[in-house]
Symmetry: C2
Subunit: 117 residues, 2 copies
DNA sequence: GCATTAGTTAAGTAAGCACTTCAGTGTTTC
DNA sequence: GAAACACTGAAGTGCTTACTTAACTAATGC
């Protein structure tokens, strides 16, 4: 249920490459074949295959081959795992800031709005 | 205002490394000095410096040196940019699925589960 | 059945990364 | 003011990555 750190690692690594991110972007608009994914990418089909394999290993993308065409789609649950990791960290930090704000407000009641700069 | 693709690239790349992610994780619980960041990481201080530099270049972390101690903290806005990129893709896909569901429900009212292979 | 299409695999290469060590710099402590 | 501390920078090393080309397999189209 929770994020397996190893899997999370693969997913972040997969998203680190701009080409792979463009593939994910394309897939977020709907399923696509390998050639469709490759088309806007200015690299060999072979290279796209390798990126695709990485995306599949990470769990971000799944694909199925019918006849001679492999159709790829996004796995939103995996994308959600990455999103959650980031969200948790951001909110942990922001929660800290809030509590700090409360503390300051209580401790120095005469200076409530002083926090500009 | 929107995500600069180059910056986004740096941020995803920064988060791709497990060590750097542990640094972000540590910082999400509050500011820390370089040595504090290094302490749980089983690598030289120099290596941590290099990771820190990358995190700063990406915009995810900011730091300030006072005396001989450099104190680092998270930049939640940057983390939010990454979060938003992912969230937009996930929701784009999920929106697609919803519309597809509506379409199927309207088109084949008697055969809701009819999409058998 | 032969050419075309769509994908797959293997091997090789160049560049990038994650470290290391070591030799500094500026700060504090005594 | 010497020693300890907290970091900084440069250079080097070995591993990983992103790509390429080329040879191959399996559907389709005619």
């Amino acid at each position: 249920m929770l994020h397996d750190p190893a899997q999370l690692d693969l997913m972040f690594q997969a998203l680190a490459d701009p080409g792979r991110r463009r593939m994910v972007e394309r897939l977020s608009r709907g399923p696509a074949s390998v050639s469709e994914l490759a088309e806007p990418l200015d690299m060999s089909l072979s290279a796209v295959m390798q990126h695709l394999h990485l995306l599949e290993t990470s769990g971000l993308v799944v694909s199925e081959k019918i006849g001679r065409v492999r159709t790829c789609r996004i796995e939103p649950k995996a994308l959600g795992d990455v999103e959650r990791w980031i969200s948790e960290r951001r909110r942990s930090w922001e929660g800290r800031l809030d509590r700090l704000g409360d503390f300051l407000a209580e401790t120095a009641p005469g200076e409530e709005k002083g926090g500009k700069t």
